[in-house]
Symmetry: C2
Subunit: 191 residues, 2 copies
DNA sequence: CGCGCGATTGAGTAATTTCAAATCTAGTGG
DNA sequence: CCACTAGATTTGAAATTACTCAATCGCGCG
């Protein structure tokens, strides 16, 4: 049992309890893989083969608009899932890029394997339901933050939620995540 | 079998197929209820007893900031789910108001009943997982729209996604949903 | 007719963006 | 140890976008 496996099991057991046999079984549906900094997990225009559990490291998902500007949808630090959800679910081409900001270890699962796993092990169906519900709650919070608050408040909100983020992510990327220009973020001088 | 029941069954069967017995069984977990225009499904500060499937009518969820301004998180037209997800899941007090904009017919389910139903009927666990995944995809799209686009493009985006919305929702509320002032929305004169 | 509500318009102000230039910083090679 | 470069960050100034507050318009309804 590697450290990654133990961490992943603990991650799943936040939602459902597992026997050793169940964990061993479900684990066979995943592939562990290392990615180096700057490597892509998903590239716009390609099909999306996997959903990724980021065990260690840091990845971001983003889209690039017609003026070439990048907009960051998500940072996935340790213990988080990331993919181009729409493309993954529907089997369409990615509209997002997903790129590692640090050397990263991920556990990957294909759509086929995930659906099979959900059918064969009800606890995993439940796990994904709960996890996705959590995800929706977080996305709703972010939407309310975006429509309710100005740039400064959104920035403070982010720092509060991810205290260590400034040490790992450039301010230009944080600006892109918050939906403001990097110059504006820079002028919010604080903390 | 009422029209509402038939509609609800079709809604569920968009994700999973059901036998008559399964539908009858799952349906016992829900309560059908009518609400009149302006009635609250959820009020800020109260506990959230149910998740609501809006069969007919229209409800909105919103939060009110410290300056008294309302920010609209969601419109639930026919065939959509709505609740204060965070408060419902965690059993905490609502931070959202949910209010009917029209006379509305809803099917309501408590957290306890939903969890029981998911345990007793794997297809419903799957249904909720799929539905919540869809929800996440939509929320992600909205976030990208909010951080990528200006007010005009967000407005056009909304009209494209919900063509009939102007006939059912005041422009002040649409502005609140888009995160702009109603005066600004008014000045985007088009369509 | 006149009230009430939603929508629009006007004018001034505030927030944010853009483009350009200056500064800072970490890592590299001499 | 230092100079140098590439990338990140900050700063400046003007332009744009959006907001606020107030007034007006339009329309359905008693």
């Amino acid at each position: 049992m590697t450290g990654i496996q133990a961490q992943f099991r603990a991650h799943i057991e936040q939602q459902v309890t597992l026997t050793n046999e169940e964990f061993d079984f479900l684990y066979t549906h995943f592939t562990e893989k290392k990615f180096h900094k700057h490597q892509y997990l998903v590239q716009e225009g390609n099909y999306v083969s996997h959903d990724y559990y980021i065990a260690q490291g840091l990845a971001k998902s983003s889209s690039t608009d017609d003026t070439g500007k990048e907009h960051i949808l998500q940072f996935a630090m340790g213990d988080a899932w990331i993919t181009d959800l729409q493309a993954f679910q529907l089997g369409t081409k990615a509209t997002l890029d997903i790129n590692c900001l640090e050397d990263t270890i991920a556990l990957m699962i294909t759509l086929e394997n995930r659906e099979k796993l959900c059918s064969d092990l009800g606890k995993m169906e439940k796990f994904f339901r709960k996890k996705t519900t959590e995800e929706s709650i977080n996305l709703q919070r972010r939407i309310l933050c975006l429509i309710s608050n100005n740039a400064r408040d959104r920035y403070e909100d982010l720092l509060e939620k991810y205290p260590g983020i400034l040490q790992r992510v450039s301010k230009a990327m944080i600006a892109s995540y918050l939906g403001v220009s990097r110059e504006t973020l820079s002028r919010l001088a604080l903390t």
